[in-house]
């Protein structure tokens, strides 16, 4: 099990039953990748409109993924390793002004 804090921002919380922070113990045999975490999150935490969270095997365009406050682009994207105690933030980009 990998203990992960998952946070939602920019309106994504609406897909998670209006929860902004979730603590999760994610089952994992070896190392947990961002890809596995996204799939597990979709299957276990998303309450509605999962199609607005996931597209293909990644997050939907317009969603930024941060691992410990750092863009996952800098951590290996889908292959980024998620470690025990990490915080992963999913942010939906806003357009309103």
């Amino acid at each position: 099990m990998v203990a992960v804090t998952i946070e939602l921002s920019g309106g994504l919380e609406a897909l998670f039953g209006e929860q902004k922070t979730l603590k999760a113990n994610v089952p994992s045999s070896g190392q947990l990748t961002a890809s596995q975490l996204i799939k597990w999150t979709r299957d276990n935490l998303v309450v509605e409109r999962a199609d607005l969270f996931v597209q293909g095997n990644s997050v939907r365009p317009g969603i930024l993924v941060l691992i410990n406050d750092t863009d996952w682009e800098l951590c290996g994207l889908l292959n980024a390793e998620i470690e025990d105690g990490d915080t992963v933030v999913f942010i939906s980009t806003l357009h309103g002004g």
Binding site: S9, G10, G11, K20, R42, D43, V47, E48, R49, A50, D51, L52, V54, R60, P61, G62, I63, L64, L66, D69, T70, D71, E73, L74, V89, I91, S92, T93, L94, H95, G96, G97
Partner: protein, 580 residues
Amino acid sequence: MDGSQDALVASLRAENQELIRRLASQDSAQQYRSDSTVPQAGLAWEGCGLTGSQVARYSRQLVLPSFGPQAQARLCKGSVLVIGAGGLGSPAVLYLAAGGVGRVGIVDTDALELSNLHRQIAHQEVSVGKHKAASAAVSCRALNSSIQVIAHEQGLLPGNALDLVSAYDVVLDCSDNAPTRYLASDACCIAAKPLVSGAALGMDGQLTTLCVAPAGPCYRCLYPQAPALASCRRCAEAGVLGVAPGIIGTLQALEAIKLLTGVGQPLTSRLLLLDCLSTGFRTIKLRHRQPACIACGPHATITASNLASYDYRAFTGQPFNDAAPPSISLIPAAQRLSVQDLASRMQPASTRPSNQLQPNQQPAAFSRPHVAEPEASNDSMIPISRLPSADFCASGCVAAETVPIGHQQANSCNPLPEGDEGQGAKGFDSASQPSGGVQSSAGPLLLDVRPKEQFAAAHLPGFVNVPYQGPHKPLPAFLLELCHPSQSVNQAPGVSSVLPSLSASEPDARIQNLELGLSQTPKPSDQCEAAGEILVVCRRGNDSQEVVQQLRSLGITGAMDIIGGLTAWSQSVDPSFPIY
């Protein structure tokens, strides 16, 4: 005073206010624009290029050790283009003008609406209906007549974007839509101008500075693929707390001032997140410029020569504004009624039997209006003066008519007094509500499918609030009951058509519920016809068509859409019903 006198006084007051303002700005212009205190060579004093009145005016910034006169001089010579004069742009242009930015350009195409004023603080009541760029420019000039303020009323378009951003030192993206955000970023990449990108919605705000050489990312580096329209919420639907864009717009002015003067570190490759609920700020580290980016990478394909012909609408699937969605015609005309038809079917309050409702009571949520009195037959129009007026929300009436269905059924023919607290606070928002027989009686069932906040703000009497939550949410159990009185909807099997990636071996109860509304396609039965007429209204007449389509697919043949929704009601039947 009668209404026409009120209107006259209001209009004279507005005119007076406007004249006073113009006079004041002319006076101040004469006082502060012509600067007779320019240092003369060889005479009393020397500075760093600032005039005497500039030294006096910006003195609190000049004496600031980390800013000082050099930075102020750069500010006074600098220029900023602000794209959007709304919630973000308003505080931004005011602070830029106040702080002495030499030239401020304001881009917008919209006319000011009353519902803008709670957050778009560069505008005044007298400007409602006027052009936002022009209105914000007037405010900036009134604040500081010594700077140049230019209103670009044609908006930012592929054809003019490059010329516009090239004419300024720094650009602020204060827009409200995805196409403009991509266009502003692409133009800034080509023109090599830093772009301060702000956004706010609901209780959230986001801020980052893009296109800062040499390594700062552009908007496309962060979002190479445009988000789906369904992911893009608009202020008009999702709502926005006024200070949320106020805070972000103010920070955009801060970033512009830093970029112009070289003071501090720009917010590049970083994203600031604002959470108004916790008053939390958080800054996260973003990627750098992406080598594969088609706008700012070494092999960029969006260039000065083809920017004007780039199809931003096609790329984003969205228009260059956050205007209301266009009216759709989803269902046949025979399934739609006009607001006049609705008026003729609604029973005026004055003809309700007195034993049903006390004067100050609202009709109960689920009560159907009783058979119309002879003088209010379905064929004759009811005079407007006799129509029930909107239930404007004062206090404590939040979703007063959004009553749990179990309660309604027990009282389906027995109206409840309003304010039955504890019963009225909860909305039915899932298929898990207890189900039971719904009696069919004369008169249509009136459904208002707007979100409960909008319903609570203003609704027509006799309507039940059943918020429509999209095609993926089930209809409330009681509506399904109209068609299937014996079937327990909670046990209906679901089909995972929306989430094909969920394998059949891992069934999910929630998903089954989500599917309920669509996957159930029972055959029409006598019960369906017995359900009678169901009139469905929403804000503009789009969601209501989807609900009618859904109800009819369940065999409820009496479901009818009200064309144009409550907006049309306000325009054609009762202007006192607020358009929002």
